[in-house]
Symmetry: C2
Subunit: 527 residues, 2 copies
């Protein structure tokens, strides 16, 4: 079978001197899929970077309306082939077709693209600021060069490098994107790219605004993120790969936004366990095994205080974990990763309660897995017991008392989320007040009475957090318009003649609805 | 003379096992000043970091009003000893006492502290965002640990690590600061710290909210910015030191904001030269020699098109540069740096027109210096001809034509500012339209018809830009409230019970005046 071509500068082109080729496999069966894709050499990448740079120049003159219209056409083009795309994603990732891919993730994906379109059109994201007396005006603007997006395997649509949140945010802010497919789902990505290409052809946007390659040698990946024409990279994936890319980009002075790892600790306070332990166990089970546990916000660490009620909670959780069918993992490597992670957790003192092994059946499967550890064990090797087991696995830590719960909170690394379940009345309030300030500074999102797996795309969402969960706690990867700011530079115009200003900074409000910060007040009015 | 003590956890304490000691010198005379200060070993730094971490915990419970009141008391305490502080700064930096230090910079400094106080009290800086239906609420919050501020030599008050813009922004956002004095002006810094200490004693803020050391071994500096208890560093200084700190901080996953170097290109278009060449030459001269040229926004590179009018412009500039008294540099090292930088520019093809040598007289002086180069020379070694000569020195580049002016713009590195002078009528408009988009993406601030040295402290100011001018183009070091965002994390509260939310995220607007982004609208109202 011939190699599938790359999307370069608006055209589907054969890879030049591809370093290698690859096929994805079907995780449900373990069989290789038929389509063959190139591992690009630098020559392909060089063409994309050069074309991306030209696209960035053309984008200076491209209106927000053109960008918004592209994003909306693209959402429509995805919907027109939604069945085909969802089917491909199902075959390549093993995630359930219904409702996960065809309904949930598909809706989320087109909704994100449309929200990004609305933000681009509405323009308030740019935080236009006008000091009329000094005649200094500023806003956030596109970075001025291509943005590289490297997507993860676990959301083949909603975080796909060519259709997901990072893509939508970078485009809406006015940047060209060079998308690197995740090699686990190249056909899904190609079908999305075909939709993007169709939408681009009907658009006045520059053809190289959206480009795609499928795979790359690691050293070329490092070279790409460090290239001085590339203005930023967004990476979602493993800590090991993320750290190597971070170093390469930062040594070159380039921006990189990383979402690397998180165990998403959930603290369940005694009053909550007394009141609704079984209900929380069911929520925990559902959250930990959803998508076979392969969520960046999977609850991988649960902290309770020891006693009869927490034992009952764990018994109930264990019953649920053990009785259910084992899910399919995204890739063969996921099985090996989980074997290694569970062994590391056991080496660091955790006791295996159920699961812990690759599961029977064709394809890549792993048993639902629960481990337990004491608070003393956790504090003795907090790093080891925070090893991320990316899949349907979680460690339940039994703290000696409230004091030790707080110490455990203090020993946590940076995470995306932390949650606290407490009684509906007052009895957990004192402990909540001790725990929450400690957890607050360790995470981007603090939850009450709720598992962390749902990440709503709303303006106030923060999907981010301190290192090593991400590279910078001031940004979010989900939530529009805030996610756009990762791909923008803050720029001011000092004494620039009025007719030369971007219309968004001129005295008249360009849409009559755009929010601007004028002389110390947010307003939709004119200056 | 005994060593001056350090400000640690609210007390003046002798350095423990100081690695060394030092005295500043008077740049006007070259003579050593009498006061002796410690070069701290790690033991002192360790105490400050530990105390800073405790202060961050206490700051979780400290109201914005307490922080604002501290900043205002501190501004008042500085004013109460303004003569003494300005005199010390004059002796230590050689900058003119009047009007520069006692009037201009002193006013700017206390004004910045008061603006930061107002921002802390007003709270809109935190961009509180509420999605009422999903019950997700977010805002920017203090980072949760000490911020290290390392100030430069060239603004001993307004960018001093313990009184300048970075300090004010970090404190207003709710962070404790560990200030590293610039060793060129320790007594100025000590007097400021005494004022800060007095204000702190009258405050309910934690005593370690403001700490100070004077000097440090380079390896301890790298260790400090990489310490995992330190949440961010703000550095203003040389590219060499900045790059070493950047690497150390980023390898540890720590935030660092850098302001490193900038030549601030000024393009003077033909129509502007025809219309007001002599006037622009005078503005150029004044801007380039102000503060003996030691401004981060000093116009170190001027680009004109060759011809009789640009020769006349240069003749006039040269006449002004040559006739005037040579200024005093901040430090002995500045003389050697300029000798080296001018030699590098000459090696790269620039012709020396005037100055270029250390100047006569006591102390550290350098001649006003002008060089010229052709557009061809610049394009042949753009990096070499962008060598920063930090002082009263500038290179004038004669482009062959409009096309070459654009090529020169394209060859520029990231800078803090770029300026364009054009005719008051239409004749330069076509060239402006070609140049400005290229320059726009290279700088944080684009100016028209104005030299870059004035940096107003207003909301729309951007004192930042792409690497290597800074480390991240999304931030500004000047301008309140935006400068605060460097020292804050974006954090969301998902389903958190209403009474547990920070008052700023509760339904009722806590001040009746705070701007919040509620359900897609900026408002001062309640939810």
């Amino acid at each position: 079978m011939p190699l599938h071509p790359l999307l370069i500068n608006g055209e589907w082109r054969q890879a030049q001197a591809a370093a290698d080729s690859f096929s994805a496999s079907n995780p449900t069966t373990g069989e290789a899929l038929a389509e063959v894709y190139p591992v690009s050499g630098w020559q392909d990448i060089e063409e994309m970077v050069a074309a991306g740079q030209e696209a960035a120049v053309a984008l200076r003159q491209t209106s927000p309306e053109t960008i918004a219209a592209f994003l909306e056409r693209y959402a429509g083009a995805i919907e027109a082939r939604a069945d085909q795309i969802a089917q491909a994603a199902h075959e390549e990732t093993g995630l359930p077709l219904q409702p996960r891919l065809r309904n949930g993730e598909m809706s989320r994906t087109v909704d994100q693209l449309r929200q990004a379109a609305a933000a681009a059109r509405e323009r308030s994201w740019s935080q236009a600021t006008i000091d009329s007396e000094a005649n200094i005006r500023s806003r956030f603007e596109a970075l001025g060069g291509p943005v590289v997006v490297m997507g993860p395997n676990n959301f083949p649509l909603a975080f796909n490098a060519i259709s997901g949140g990072d893509f939508a945010a970078a485009i809406a802010a006015g940047n060209p994107v060079i998308a690197k497919a995740h090699p686990g789902h190249p056909t899904t990505t190609r079908l999305l790219a075909e939709a993007a290409c169709e939408a681009l052809q009907e658009s006045d946007a520059p053809p190289a605004m959206v480009q795609l390659f499928y795979h790359i040698e690691p050293e070329d990946g490092l070279r790409l993120v460090a290239d001085d024409r590339v203005k930023a990279t967004a990476f979602t994936g493993s800590r090991r790969a993320g750290m190597a890319l971070k170093r390469a980009a930062e040594e070159a002075g380039n921006l990189i936004y990383l979402e690397m790892s998180s165990v998403n600790p959930v603290f369940i306070l005694p009053g909550a366990l007394a009141e609704r332990g079984a209900e929380i166990a069911a929520a925990f089970y559902a959250s930990c095994t959803m998508g076979t546990g392969q969520f960046c916000t999977n609850p991988g660490l649960v902290i309770v205080q020891k006693g009869a009620r927490s034992e009952a909670f764990l018994d109930e959780a264990q019953r649920l974990f053990a009785q259910q069918e084992n899910g399919v993992l995204l890739a063969e490597g996921g099985v090996a990763h989980l074997v290694e992670a569970v062994a590391a957790l056991q080496d660091n003192g955790a006791e295996l309660l159920c699961g812990g092994q690759p599961a029977e059946g064709p394809g890549y499967r792993f048993q639902n897995t629960l481990l337990r550890a004491s608070g003393e064990q956790f504090l003795a090797d907090a790093e080891g017991l925070q090893t991320e087991a990316f899949g349907p696995a979680s460690v339940v830590v039994f703290a000696r008392d409230a004091e030790q719960m707080v110490q455990i909170a203090e020993a946590l690394e940076g995470n995306l989320t932390a949650g606290i379940y407490s009684a509906s009345g007052e009895e957990d309030e004192a402990l909540y007040e001790r725990l929450s300030p400690v957890l607050r500074e360790k995470v981007g999102r603090l939850l009450n009475d709720k598992m962390p797996t749902g990440v709503a795309v709303t303006a106030a969402m923060v999907h981010g957090g301190p290192y090593p969960a991400t590279g910078h706690p001031g940004f979010t990867a989900v939530g529009i318009p805030a996610a756009l700011l990762r791909f923008a530079a803050r720029r001011s115009y000092d004494n620039v003649r009025h007719h030369r200003l971007p219309v968004e900074l001129q005295n008249e409000n360009p849409t009559g609805e755009m929010w601007r910060y004028v002389d110390g007040r947010w307003t939709q009015g004119d200056v």
